[in-house]
Each structure stands twice: as C-alpha cells, then as structure tokens.
Amino acid sequence: MGISLYEKVFNRHVVRKDEGTYLLYIDRHLVHEVTSPQAFEGIRISNRNIWRKNSIIAVPDHNVPTTDRTVKIKDPISRIQVETLDKNCEEFNLLQFKMDDRRQGIVHVVGPEQGSTLPGMTIVCGDSHTSTHGAFGAIAMGIGTSEVEHVFATQCLIVNKFKTMRVVVNGDLQYGVTAKDVALEVIGKIGTAGGTGHAIEFTGTTIQSLSMEGRMTLCNMAIEAGSRVGLIGVDNKTIDYIQDKPLAPKGDLWEKAKKDWLGLVSDEDAKFDSEIKIDGSLIEPQVTWGTSPEMVVSITSKVPNPADFSDKTLSSSYQIALKYMNLKPETPINKIAIDKVFIGSCTNSRIEDLRAAASIVGTKKIAKNIKLALVVPGSGLVKLQAESEGLDKIFKNAGFEWREPGCSMCLAMNADKLGPGERCASTSNRNFEGRQGQGGRTHLVSPQMAAAAAIYGKFVDIRELN
C-alpha cells in the first residue's frame, strides 16, 4: 500500500517513537516578536542553549507600523516587544530581518521568498498560519510559545501523527475566481473544525493549475478549516519557484535536491482517512458574512436566515453573528456596503495578489463611501517589485494608501484597525469578532473582490466586470 505525502515527510523526521508520541526533528524555525519573548526567557531561566541557530530566521511583523519606518514605533508596548526580539536575536546570534531591512515582512511571505522554505522540510513558527509553507510539500505548522522554547532547546517537537484528509479539486476556475475562493469554499463545506486532527492534502487539476503563490494562499487557510497542516505535492512549479532564491541549494546540491523533491507526492494508492471532492469549475467568488470563516457564501447569494437551521447551536451562532455584523437575514451579498478595504496579510499580500487587485482598479477611483483603503505588501521585496511595475501608482491614483510591509490590519496589533461598527472588505484570513479592531466587521474576500469593493463601495461580482 502506498503512503501519502504527509507520511513521507513525517517519516523522514522521526527521531524516536515512544508510546503514542513521536519525537520529530525540525528543519526550520521561523520566529516573530509576539510569541517568542517568553520562549527566549525560558531558555535563559533554565540556562539552556539554542540547539541549531542556523535553523532560525526571525522577523518582526505583527506589531510593526506600516507608516514611516524611519521613526520609532509610537506605541511604547509594541516598541518594547520589537526591541526585545532585536535583543534576543543579538544575544543568541540569530539571523533577523529587522524593521529597516528591505527583506523584512510577514514571516510567511519572507520564508518562501528567501528560499528558506524547502520541500520535505518540517517547518514551525509560533503562528497558526505557518500552514502556508505546506504549499512546498513541507510539513509546516503553527505552535505555541512552550513549543517554540522546546524547538529552541531540542530542535524537536513531541507530536502525535495526524490523520490525513485529501481535498480533491478538479476543473478550471472561472474568470475572477482565485485560490482564496477555493479556500473559502473548502472551509464553507467542511467547517472550521472539519480538518481538526488532520493534515489536509490539496490535490486535483485545479490545484495543479494554481501558481505557487495561489497554493500558499490555499495552505495558509488550512488552519481556518481546523487543520494545523495543509500541504501540496511537489511539481515543476515548486522547483521553478525555489530556484535561485537566496537560501536555496546551489550547483550539485540543487540537482540532487530536485531529484529528491520531485518524489515528494502522495503515492497513487495512498490511503487517506477521509476525502472531499469539489468541482472547481462551479466555485464562485466568495464573501464571508459572519464571524467565522465557515460563515461564507458566494457573491450571488444572500445572508442566511438562522430560522432555516434546526441545529440549535448553529442557529444561535448565526444569530449572534448577524447581530454582531449588523446584517439582516436574506440580505443579498451584493447589497452590502462597506467602509474600509484591506489588501494584505500572509494570505494575500504577495506580488500576484497586488497585480490582480491593481488590474481591477485600473484607472478607476475608490468610491466616496470608502473611508480608508489600505494596500500593505507582504514584504519589503514585494513592495519594491510592485513599485518597479508601477502598481503603487495605480493604487495611489485610485485613492488607496500604499504602506510598508507587516501584518497590519489582519489582526490590528499596530495602528491599522477598524473602528466600532466599521465594515471592511479584507483579504485576510479571520473574520472573528474584534479581529480587525473592537466592534469592527470583517468580510473575507479575494484581492480582486476587495479591489472591486473599494471601487464600487460595496461587494460586486467581479465576473461581471470582465
């Protein structure tokens, strides 16, 4: 019997098997300022060492301002956290892209961009969206701060093996339908706990046709389906993306690596614990209406009516969500007007996302009812690339603000946030209550849908703009 990609990568990393648990070796550890200070402190207190320093790449992203970087961070508590990362990286001699480094950016954009994310790796970070890196045929997962400390000290994690789920998406995506819409469709179908305890492998012709950046968007959202790990088999697109990246192997090692990596796919007769099939050609642009990513419908639909659901917990969740979102049951999605637009986050801030959004904007201007439209590139290098293509001008001419890289209004830890009651079209990954600012209302969409919402002041079906 064949084995799945997840098992292939997993098996390579088993240091030892104990009763029910595995000690798993970790290749790459990404570190940011929010979930690491207590782990560094733990290492100091227990007088331990960091096991393999060159497995670590650190970058501040959650707290950093997206405005002028030449001035210090205004919020003193945020500043201390970012400075603490600087101090820790200096003390332990770790590679860090500081706030003023053009390679700085969102940790899940920076990793692949630098070629530090490679097929067959185990990759961890104290951030749930680490699943992003699974797009490269790696096991990548978010961990808590205790586990960050554990990896610092031992280069290993104590884990249970996940069950496996295969999500097969076949067919050509319609014009204007993106990896983000595929992700939201999957989450809508299986729910935010649908993948709990599982590693999800995405396969099928739709997935094959996605670019590496699209695949990252999809794997990024695996955690929103409850799965810590999302992954996609290696193909020539994976190899082409990695080639010549700063940290990618070179010369003879590159040739050997390539040969190995192309084998990192599930065997044809691999068994999965569960399987979901989706017809990619039927997926429409998605818009979330509630306070959980599973509360999602297509642009042609209406907000659901809680009265239509017999399950008490579900019906009550829907009622609470509609109240928070200030939406009436059965409101058509394309009648929902918005106040702010956010294009960015580890889900959708890469160059292809910005190109796609800019292509919708063109020479148009943002609608009068839009109070703020932000474009926050995923990294300094994405920003430079976008500027070299003139995308910044397209956005600025339309009335968007063009900012410095970071997590920004995805979680609103810095100054970029929604005010109470403000409604936002956002390319980020979570529409939880208060996620983008207390009382703020988030609708998750693709970059194209967000750009169109900025232009029209409400959600529109971008397929009709074709």
Binding site: Y25, T154, T313, R430
Partner: protein, 216 residues
C-alpha cells in the same frame, strides 16, 4: 507548571461554539513579554463594555453584567464549559495563560482546536472532550443550580457530577505530564544522544536542507 490531578470547582457555562483565541485574549494584550497578568483581560471584549488596553486599571472599567464571568453565581468558578471547536484561531499561548491567570483549571467542550488543546497541557490546564449529549446535560444542570460544582479526576479519567460519572479520553503522555507537572523539554533532552545521532545522519542524507543558511 503545577501538577493537575483531582479538582473540584464551580462550573462556568459559556454557551457558545467556535470560541476563538482572539475572543479569549484580544490582540492588544499580546504585546506583553511576560506569561502572567492576562487574567483581568480574559474575554476582554465580552466582559467589559468599554475598550481595554494593556496597563489600564480594569477595576474602573464598565462591566458587561450579562457576560457569564460577571454573573455573581459563577464567581470563583474554575471549570469552564463551552460548545464545539473551543480555542480555534491563532496559536497564541496567551489564551491558556489568561485562563490560568483568571483561575480556570479545566475546560470542558464537545471539541477543541488542535493548537489550543496542546497549549493547555503545557500550562497545567486540563481540556476535556465530552460528547454533545453529555455537554447538554451538564449545561442544564449548571443552569438549574447556583454554585454547581463538579469533580474531575485525571488519574481515573472520570468526571463526577451529582450522582453521575462520565469517563473521558486523554493521551497517556499528556496525562502523565499533567499529573507530574513535568517539563517536557527536560524529558526530550534525556534523548539528547538520539537527537544528535539522528541529526548527523539526517544531514548526510539531505545535505541540501542545511545549505546556504548563512545569509548575514
């Protein structure tokens, strides 16, 4: 970490599904570089009617009288019960830190998100999964009686409420860590030689994963 074994406490019913870690501890409090002091801001946006910021005097804030933590009969509760997919969302360990700092020792729900579930065990909180019907029963009992208490015995993997007994499942390694209050880094480092041997062979087999790492 304090060991956990037998615990008796007042039950706090949080009758919601998909309680996410942003709700458990909002982002502005994640700026702390410490592990303690998060308790007063546990469920901040539900618990208070005004906006909270780190360093604020929480005793002067406007309390939401309808939120379960503010209802007098649940005061001093140490067992939180909730619906499915508790702790979904971000990996922030600040969520269990906030629960623990508030005084919660046990969380019972019909399911948990993976990362939160694991984070609990690292901090001396026992997360227990019970089926939906049993959860419904406990919710009803808690509602019916002021100061309703239950007892949890981790060693025996049993919950005692009124005259009823329910069993629960828990991974044997996680259980032993909680029972003994073990530091799992110390445990792993007992296998130091295994890790060193593995690492050497691993890098010989996959040398490209360790190449070009010096970027500085």
């Amino acid at each position: 970490m304090d060991p956990v074994n037998i615990h008796k406490g007042i039950v706090i019913p949080l009758d919601r599904a998909n309680v996410d870690t942003d709700a458990i501890i909002p982002k502005q409090f994640l700026k702390s570089i410490k592990k303690s002091g998060f308790g007063p801001n546990l469920f901040d946006e539900w618990r208070y009617l005004d906006h909270g910021e780190p360093g604020q005097d929480n005793s002067k804030r406007r309390i939401n009288p309808d939120f379960v933590l503010n209802i007098p009969r649940y005061k001093n509760g140490s067992i939180l019960i909730a619906r499915e997919n508790f702790g979904c969302g971000s990996s922030r360990e600040h969520a269990p830190w906030a629960l623990l700092d508030f005084g919660i020792k046990i969380v019972i729900a019909s399911s948990f998100a993976d990362i939160f579930y694991g984070n609990c065990f690292k901090n001396g909180i026992l997360p227990i999964i019970l089926d939906k019907a049993t959860m419904d029963k406990i919710f009803t009992k808690v509602e019916a009686k002021v100061g309703y208490e239950i007892t949890v015995n981790l060693q025996k993997q049993k919950i005692y409420y009124d005259s009823e007994i329910t069993s629960f499942e828990v991974d044997s390694f996680k259980k032993s860590c909680l029972l003994d209050g073990l530091d799992d880094i110390g445990l792993t480092l007992k296998n130091k030689v295994d890790i060193e041997n593995f690492e050497k062979k691993y890098h010989e087999s996959f040398p490209w994963l360790n190449s070009g790492e010096k970027l500085k």
